[in-house]
């Protein structure tokens, strides 16, 4: 019984730890974290494309920002 209690506490602690970091890094906008990772992958693919790489990288972040705001405004509206 005490072993189960200890295991339960450890499991709860592990879950809390990951939940804290998930909330901290991803928050309530998973689209931002996912979008940034996709832009990072695109940056690697585009790195030898000269002037195109910075232009596309900046454009992708601007589009992601607009999508994230738009998505939240839709979400808020659907709640009303």
């Amino acid at each position: 019984m005490p072993l189960k209690t200890t295991q339960g506490r450890i499991w709860k602690g592990v879950r809390s730890f990951f939940s804290f970091w998930k909330h901290f890094l991803i928050g309530d906008s998973p689209i931002l974290a996912l979008g940034v990772l996709l832009i990072l992958a695109a940056d690697y693919l585009l790195r030898n494309s000269g002037f195109l790489a910075p232009v596309l990288s900046v454009t992708m972040v601007l589009v992601l920002m607009a999508i994230a705001v738009y998505q939240k405004t839709r979400h808020k509206n659907s709640k009303l």
Binding site: S29, V36, A53, V58, V61, L62, M65, V69, K76, N77
Partner: protein, 259 residues
Amino acid sequence: MERGCMVDQGTILLLITVAVASAVEATEALTIILASGITRGWRSTVEGTLLALACLSGIVLVAGTTLILYVPLYILRVVVGTLLLIFGLQWLTKAILRETGFKALHDEADIYDREVVTLSKEKGVRGQRDSLAFVVSFKGVFLEGMEVIMIVISFGLGNGSYDQLGTVALGALVGVGIIAATGAVVAKPLAKLPENYMKLGVGVLLTVFGLFWMGEGAGIQWPLGDAFLLVLLAIFAAATLCLIAYFKRVHGKRLEVRA
């Protein structure tokens, strides 16, 4: 010579970002500390606050030193840039939503009142050790401080040296110090601070530095070198203003339709 000048401008931008970000988070922590101290007594509140600050300083020293010593600079830049870009876009989108009316503004006075009501319900003896005051102040300072710590470590490791980590930590201390001193003098939540404008500014700066370092780490050659930071700053400031103007109109139209 010109590059040195741009590096200085970059450092100044970096210091401003860290100081303002720290001030914003310190304002939120101050509300919790004041509510706890005034309602439950100062002894345990101060102890909880000091312990949280000690833990946060320890994290900066341990994590900062380990990362500088053992992780190659190009990997650091990618990780740091990615984290900063995620944080920056989170700050920015929330601040835009608040500015346009889609999200309620952060009201420190209201948060303070709610904290006071919650803390007053629990029994406790003023003047003696109070575990609730200790936990509330520790948690408040630690959680609000974690975001600052991530920003400090990320910015501090931008060039992979201890010097920058120290400079950035100093910027954070200045931001926290100003808010702590103001809070100690006025002894009430800093509700009149233009928190959302500060968040908008920090969001733009975090996004700009994040994008720049992530791209650099991935191998992108930014035109104009470090000076491109200023170009990015102008682009993202303009984009933020455009989004605010557009979504303010959208929000206004929706209110008209509902009315």
